[in-house]
Symmetry: D2
Subunit: 460 residues, 4 copies
């Protein structure tokens, strides 16, 4: 059965059918389709299209179908073109021709947009939960790893000492922005298209404000042409997923690096590592590599849909059917990655001695320049002088802190014995006591703010 065909004299070619059918992926919207249909039945009953008994019959039938879906008992048929057809086909099987009244004043164009938005509103909640769990892991580690020092890098070169907790928290904030974006997408998704008909608005006096409220939307859409063609929410979802992927990928890249023998700061639990079929010694951070690699796929989903949307001519074009697969793939990707990363981070072993060993005194060069600034030198000159000291140390094969006072003074007589105090990493950390800085006090405040955010997230 199709929901059309009266005017057609030939059946669809089988290969064309296969190309056209969306059931293989849109059956994922089964529960949303039933839910939307129940609400629609009530709305058109209220509008006088259905009698109260008809409405009850239809709703009972739909409840039975929902039950079948939930118990995996629903049997799809080859002739089901899409989930909407399958539900209506089954409804008529269950309750007879009155089931054919359900689609009055409705089109698959507004129906599928409604189903998809319903699905996405739930999906965003799931995703947000998974992101929040990862944030909790990060804050948890920041709390338990307090006082561990880590070399901070820029350009992947040793830069300045930081607190490991500061590093953990540096991955909290991007996720917080992701959550904020997803929440804003959810709000824009909560605009009800149902009642827009195929393109021009339904021709029955449906109370769309009530319908929106019934289905958990905040408002009905304001323009039917826009309502059936708008896929901004899907594009936004894919963008935000891809950006979340970028954030996870950046975290993954750093974990992979810190798990190398060369850095050696982190060690993954065996429960979150894999081996090699050939090399018996290998312990690989596959799950972080997959996280990084899947960032590419997430970006591809976004590019794909945006390109599909580009240049479409009508209120509704069939091209829009291509909206669901990438969104489902993006959701599944993130839902697969997020808990695994959280699990792996929770069970990560630290090697603080390796972090300490990597704390090259040259990382305090900025503090040394600041020391000269304290003696009245403009920073620009202090920077040059300190650079020369670094060069001198490199040429003599010494650590910067191992240059003698005489050597320092050969560069500038301003140096005195106090200079050696700057080579204490804790001293450097302590000086960076501004909002967002790596000083222990500042990091503790930062952690407090993060915890409050999580607490509020839990309350919502």
């Amino acid at each position: 059965m199709t929901l059309w065909g009266g005017r057609f004299s030939k059946k669809l070619d089988p290969q064309a059918w296969a190309l056209n059918a969306s059931l293989p992926f849109d059956k994922r919207l089964a529960l949303q389709d039933v839910r939307g249909s129940v609400a629609w039945a009530k709305a058109i009953q209220q509008a006088g299209v259905l009698t109260q008994p008809e409405c009850s019959q239809i709703c009972a039938g739909l409840e039975a179908i929902r039950n079948e879906f939930e118990k995996q008992g629903f049997v799809f048929q080859e002739s089901d073109e899409d989930i909407h057809t399958a539900v209506e086909r089954r409804l008529v099987e269950l309750i007879g021709p009155v089931g054919g009244k359900l689609h009055t004043g409705r089109s698959r164009n507004d129906q599928v947009a409604t189903d998809f938005r319903l699905w996405m509103m739930e999906a965003i909640e799931d995703l947000s939960g998974a992101i929040t769990s990862l944030q909790e892991t990060l804050v948890g580690r920041a709390g338990s790893d307090m006082d561990v020092l880590l070399p901070g890098y820029t350009h992947l070169q040793r830069a300045q000492p930081i607190l490991l907790s500061h590093w953990w928290l540096s991955h909290f904030w991007p996720l917080q922005r992701d959550l904020e974006r997803f929440a804003q997408i959810r709000e824009r998704t909560a605009i009800l298209p149902l009642g827009s008909g195929a393109l021009a608005g339904t021709s029955f006096q449906v109370d769309r404000l009530a319908l929106a409220a019934d289905l958990g939307f905040s408002l009905p859409s304001q323009n039917s042409l826009d309502a059936v063609s708008d896929r901004d929410f899907a594009a936004e979802f894919l963008f935000c997923s891809a950006l979340t992927g970028v954030h996870l990928g950046k975290l993954a890249e750093q974990v992979i690096l810190y798990c190398t023998a060369e850095f050696g700061f982190f060690e993954l639990s065996d429960a979150f590592s894999t081996g090699s079929s050939l090399m018996p010694q290998k312990k690989n951070p596959d799950i972080f590599e997959l996280t990084r690699g899947k960032t590419g796929a997430l970006l591809g989903y976004l590019t794909g849909l945006m390109s599909t949307l580009k240049g479409l001519p009508s209120a509704y074009d069939k091209d829009l059917q291509e909206d669901k697969v990438p969104v489902f793939q993006a959701y599944d990707t993130l839902m697969a990655i997020l808990p695994v990363i959280a699990g792996a981070l929770k069970t990560l072993t630290l090697h603080p001695e390796k972090m300490g060993a990597a704390m090259d005194p040259a990382m305090l060069a900025t503090d040394l320049a600041d020391y000269l600034v304290g003696k009245g030198l403009p920073f620009r000159q202090a920077h040059i002088l300190t650079g020369q000291a670094v060069q001198m140390a490199a040429q003599t094969g010494k650590h910067l802190s191992a240059l003698t006072l005489a050597e320092f003074q050969s560069l500038d007589p301003l140096f005195d014995n106090n200079l050696y105090l700057v080579f204490e990493p804790q001293h450097s950390l302590g000086r960076r006591n501004v909002i967002g800085g790596t000083a222990p006090e500042a990091v503790r405040k930062q952690m407090q703010i993060a915890k409050e955010i999580l607490l509020n997230a839990g309350r919502e």
Copy 2:
């Protein structure tokens, strides 16, 4: 001059210099760099790094530089690696070595992120203004073209009659979502990175809350590592620009179609059309084709930056320098397109007779089915019957409305003479009187809401 070099024994290779230098594009941040530097000077004076006279000297020097930029009198030198270097170089020229104190406690990492955010906050205001202007044009046309009927399309096939004003407004709402997104990006952009140093936070007691307020940011960043590496705002800007491009491209596609000889609904003013070097009769909608074509480029900028961000390892990596060119290109693209589209739409000539001629009676088939629903038939059967009538009309080469009552009744005796009333497009329109529907009353309400939105936008 570079802002580094003390530890280096060789000058940068000239080709490497050219690859590395960002001045060719970041000089666009000149005014922002000066503004941020003035605020920084005051902040470090307050923190005790500069004396009051030093601070005044520096600020006066920076004001002089701002003046040079505004009057196009600033002379860049080959040795200026980037805009920050250029400004500091010039400052020292103007006020002597004390200028070398400005960079104390600051890094180009937090500086460039600050400049770029300052630029973007202004850019979003400009863009929002240009989008709002286009919205005003759309609402203006909706007002003046009220009562013109247009065939509505799905799948580019004639579907149902709509009001032209409804169509104009269908392009208002996507732009409204774009504005909402840009406003949200602006809020996320208004987080101050300055004071984050290179990665670990500045080592001087700078009041970052005051600094944020001074520069028009809402808050300082909470984590210095994140602050210097976060380019979410740039990615978001590119995404939102690309999505705006998709919306403009969809409008463009439809205008291009409606300007064809075959549709013939619209005619562009000569002031917004171009011709052919070979074919003297041609009048081409180039500006709408370029709008559609540039959607691709906008998507490319987004993809490019997202891919650049993917897998970065440190707090700051030089890869991030690639963030500015695509953002500038996206901004310039939209600012070039938006006013031209507005101008072209304002001066568009309508051919309502062509729209009327395209109003095939078969477009009322849904209303015919609804008519049968009114007689108690389930919609599904009404749909089938009507489809058969359409087929009968096609086979006999008649318009659907030209079938005789006998012919209709050969399909089902339910048909009676009243059926012919459905073939009046105005009747069809009037029935779609729900929120967002194409009924004149609904469209007038919609227009009212749109006007209020514009009014509020103007007030902000």
Copy 3:
């Protein structure tokens, strides 16, 4: 069972397992994996690793497994991490511990690259066949629709008359370039990675030239590090698929336009059209819209993989596991689209009367300018004069050909009565008798060349 684990003290976390496992998609390489394993067994027997009886045992076991795959009788187990593991697990079940000798000197890194290349070489043959079939359809239509005139468009504005056959053939050549590209990719894919081990080359004296020949590769790879990480062939496949998608999408866009009521040149068979759940009159070109829409997805697959490949650090990184899904999706997409388009084009009904009615005399304006050129006027002036004639016609509401001789002469006395000859479309066509031109003679020659290409394709 995994192919590793000796050094691990914990089992992989179940969610990490699910993220890591590639069986859900790489089982598609089952037959290739068996084929590559048989060849490998022979190669290491020749290298002295296996005895002849061991080799025979292993090969017999593998043949049994191949049989199971072909008869859908192979039972995967939850513990099968990937297709390679599944095959080896089953082999040991079938023939005992000697099966554990198969993986000697081999790694999954070189194995999977080999399997994937084997798959792709076959896939390209399938795809090329499907593309060639579509080309045959196009040439077939060009042959049967000879002498039908079609308005040619640029900027979607009527430009010059062309032959419909010329239009059909305009879609032949892009596909021919696609075939050429796929053939070149196939050649680059036919480089054997097997024998590269995990990264450094196999440590047994395998004759890789013989192994390559045995498996149908042209040569072994020259560098083991490159061999295990090279995914150029996958990226190229995705690029070429996306470009093929662009070509099909362009064809689709034009068919969709020509099937509108407004153009009306084409009518799809009912067997290749679909309807609306709401609007009984609708007959939609869904399959062409899906073709156009899927171009976006194809581009997304390309972008995704390229972005995944970007910035990878090692010889083999697990990120590379993300290579297969997009390639399979691209292949499936094209294989689903191509035959349906061919079927739809074969059964397309033409409406030459609509094409004729669209042949506006202004489309001969270039010929009119050429006529003036024939009288000695520089083309630039002839173009201006003709443009003025077009404007005069538009202002007086006449067709260009309906201007009187006096009106023409008011623009320039050079015009004489012969000018009206140019308004015969056939005359215009006939003048474009250069290689690649739309003159009937030129199109017949073009068709001949196309047929020879197809003939040669058939012979290969």
Copy 4:
């Protein structure tokens, strides 16, 4: 002046003009435009459109213009819409109205496609030269660094010992594939569109075979509709550029890693490093980070153009004007990167002692398993046993090679004293003596092949 306008009653709106004008970027095609115009003048003289003196006049005028371009003496005017207009405008200035005969039978549609292809054929030669130079650098380093051992990585974990020369050469082969692809693109670019007119073929009897030969094309295009719309060559160029970018980015990623303090294998020359404005000790691999970062931009150019091409409706649409900027940007990007990388690699200092120190005995675990295979154990069991030895070593905090024979034998009595021989990296290398393997003999052969390829490249 525009090349059209006769039929227009209003001038183009200034902002529309700015949006429409392509001169800012297509002036880069100036020399190609002149060259194509000279050939066209000769072709239409031969076709009888121009007399011999007219042709000579025009060619002389064009030569004068070429001269102006080459000496930077050409003055563009605000009214020059594009490079074609500028050249024709100047030609008429120089030689009078006869210049207006040049455009006879030609359209900007075929003209710009010709210019762009001419440019690209030259661009590919330049690029290929720059790539070949980098290959020479790689082969040069492979030659001079022979005998240096490097840890080989997979998953960024130490895997097996390799020769540094093998690693250098692993970056040779991807570039070789890039060259092959560029050469194939060049062949497909060498198809002449000129003579296709606006879309239907030129109406004058131009000998397109001769014209193709005159301009260095291999053949004329076979279908005029396809010829003016085909941008496959641009898309291919962008794809191949992006893939080259991926290869360079992978090299860059590895260099960045090997330049970290933690790996420490490489040290960049000061002439190819940059510093920090804040941290005096920093020496950053900016040029490799930029290389990696620009991979994103290159991918963006590709995505952008592909998306622009998607869904275009006509033979020529103005959207195609968007083809040039990304191609120019891609070319400029690669031409900026390639010589700098070559320079940086040539001047790179090695730290073989760091490479040696990183040669963990566990990297010989595969060889240890192979040793057990030599004793008759199936590899799978040998792998498990070796894995257990690795675990034992890890648990006791010893190197794998430091386990006592008794400890090994506690795992399996097959172990004997000879096992310790496997821990000699040179032994491991020597065993990988297959085509493409890392054994010194195999690498020398590989280098020989690479040198022959370069020799042949030089000869072409």
